[in-house]
Structure formats: structure tokens, C-alpha cells
Symmetry: C2
Subunit: 210 residues, 2 copies
């Protein structure tokens, strides 16, 4: 049995009190992974951006809004966990200056300067110690190549590669890459059964070796 | 009895296949207004951006993603409707050029040039004929003044003024402004009861006079 930190859902980066930058992550894959981990007898704490899904009873939920908040919550939780499953889709850009008041329309273009938010898994990876980490990569081009680069940069032990079509759908199709760049599994189906297969791979390759 | 066109939920304006600009509208107020209109015996067609809520059975739902799609759907439906309730929170800026592929992070700032999307109610208002139109205004500053300016620009018959706190909460607090700038009602409560009161005002002031 492991104590697992899961990140789930999107984050939001506000431009002003009303408008924000985000993505279509619904938290459903995170929900399915929490359930599958719990079914496997593991303790789960999920740090989740704003979602409409409900996480399973018995899972500790920490609700956050921005990427910075998600990182900060994870940094607090990591020391007490054995592994991390980073399925969240944190918004990776923020506006440099957030407007305190709603930006009024003027009829003119609005120029925004976006800067990158901290990379949650890469930051956690720097202090992972003997903990295992599983990341997710959503790529549209050079998919395996980019996913493997992410695995290395984020110091992950496995990287789950999926595609944008999966982000708000019921079904999904993923490949699991190991640090050698090999596809150790290719799984398709509804998110619940794919989550169960991913957890089985994690248990086989990471949890039991600890 | 009237045939009523309702707009509901947020819209999304994509930067690339993954990231988009939006707001926290959940569609709950739209859902409540559809229900209240239907309870009043009216026929309802709702044009809705991406939401997790379910609209009442018997309501015709047209699902859209972007502001341009919402406008286009409304323009097609308007001729057959007697009135419009515009409770959607359409994203009012879009990036000038949408990237076909996911924008890769480079470590450098990303400069975005946003341009305004078409104003749905103002555009519909130009061809409203003898139809009535009710708008919603979400303002953080100079609230009544800005709401009244919107009422005039959008050629609305009533403007419902609410605040950002309402956008993803269960409870809400609104003021109803008429074209003279008078607050004809101030209502607070859960969205369902507020929706019922708004529909009662619409029936009293707009539907019955037709």
C-alpha cells in the first residue's frame, strides 16, 4: 500500500476578476485514477483545480484555483507521500499583470504578455528523493518524442501520453512510456478501465519495487 | 405564452488546440431561467456554451463553443422567437490568430493580441423588431451606470445587474433595471427562486404587453 498524491483537473490563470485562461480538463481521469488507486488499497490525497466531478469518498481533496496554488499545496503534501500521479492539466501561462478590476472593452485590441507558470511535476521532481512520479503528457505533434523529453525534464518514472481528443471525453487512448523511451503499454477504453490499467502498471513497476 | 430564446453558459476562445480564454459561468442561472420559463408555460430554446449542468427536459438545446457560434445560432433562431433572455457570459475577446498546433513553451514570454468578439445581444438588438430582450450585466465598478449603458447599447428592455460573486455560486443577488434607469426590483436568494422572480417580472412587463 502506498500513500499517493494525485493532481487533477485544470487550473485557472485570471486576467481580471472575470476572465481567465484555462483548458478543457474536467477532472474525470483524475477521478477515475483516485478510484482505481483506492480500489487497490492505497491512500489518496488529490489536489484539484476547479471541476464539477466529485472525487470518491475517502479521498482527501485539496481544492485550488491557480497553478501556483496547486504547486504550493503539492509541496506541502509531498513529504508524507510515497508517489505522485500528475494527471492535472495546470495552465502553463499566466498574464504578467492581473487587472484588479474587470477590463472594460474599448473597441481596440488588447495586448497581453503571458509568462510561464512554474512546472509542478518538474519542481516536485527536484526534491522527489526515493518517491516515484508518473506524469501525463498531452501532445499534438512529435508526440512520443515530446513525451519522453517531458519524462526526463520532470524526472518521472513513467509518462502517460494522451491526445487532446481525450481531454473532455468519456473514452481515452493512452500509451505508457518508460525512461528508456519504450512504450510499455498501449491502452484504450473508457477512463475508468484505462485508469485501472494504469494503476496496475504503477503497482507492478513502481510500488512493489519500493 | 411566448417562445423564448435563452443564451446560457460561457463560451471559449481557443489560443491553440488546448488552451482557451473563458470565464467561470456554469450555466446554472441559465438552467434556472429555462426551468422558470417552462414552468410559466413558455416554449424555450437555449443556446448554450460548454457546461456540465443539464437543461430541463422539453427545452430545445443548441450546443456551441465559441462566441461566434453562439451568435450565429441565435441569429438563426431569433425570427421564430418572441423574446430573448441573454444570460450567457460569452467570452468577449479572442486571439487574433489561433495556433493550429499546441504552442510549445520556450521559457520566453508569449505576446497575445486579443480582439473583441461580436456582442451577441447588441447584434441581435439591431434586428429585434417588436421582440423583447432581457440582458445580464456583470460589473465590478460603477455597476448601475455601466449596466444602464449596456441596456441602451444592446437595445434591451430590461437589464439584470449581478456581481462576479454570483458567477459560480448557488446563491445570487440581482437588481432589475428598466430603460429609464430605475431599479424595478432587487432580488436575493438561490438561483432557482431568483429566476422565478425574474420570469415573473418579464411576464408582467414584457410578455403580457405584446
Amino acid at each position: 500500500m502506498a500513500r499517493v498524491l494525485v493532481t487533477s483537473g485544470p487550473t485557472r490563470q485570471y486576467l481580471d476578476p472575470v476572465r481567465f485562461l484555462t483548458n478543457g480538463s474536467t477532472g474525470r481521469m483524475g477521478q477515475a485514477l483516485c478510484q482505481a488507486l483506492q480500489d487497490g488499497g492505497h491512500q489518496v490525497v488529490v489536489v484539484s483545480g476547479p471541476v464539477e466531478v466529485a472525487y470518491p469518498d475517502g479521498v482527501e481533496v485539496v481544492a485550488v484555483v491557480t497553478t501556483e496554488e496547486m504547486l504550493s499545496a503539492c509541496q506541502g503534501l509531498l513529504p508524507a507521500c510515497d508517489g505522485v500521479v500528475g494527471v492535472a492539466a495546470p495552465c502553463d501561462y499566466r498574464v504578467e499583470h492581473v487587472a484588479e478590476r474587470k477590463i472594460a472593452k474599448t473597441g481596440q485590441p488588447l495586448l497581453l504578455r503571458l509568462v510561464e507558470t512554474p512546472d509542478i511535476l518538474a519542481t516536485l521532481g527536484e526534491h522527489k528523493g526515493d518517491r516515484w512520479m508518473v506524469g501525463f503528457a498531452l501532445e499534438t505533434d512529435d508526440r512520443r518524442f515530446r513525451a519522453l523529453a517531458k519524462l526526463e525534464r520532470k524526472k518521472c518514472d513513467l509518462m502517460i501520453l494522451n491526445s487532446p481528443q481525450a481531454i473532455s471525453s468519456v473514452d481515452t487512448r493512452v500509451e505508457i512510456l518508460d525512461p528508456a523511451g519504450d512504450v510499455v503499454a498501449a491502452i484504450a477504453g473508457d477512463k475508468r478501465s484505462v485508469a485501472a490499467r494504469i494503476v496496475a502498471e504503477i503497482e507492478h513497476r513502481l510500488v512493489r519495487r519500493g
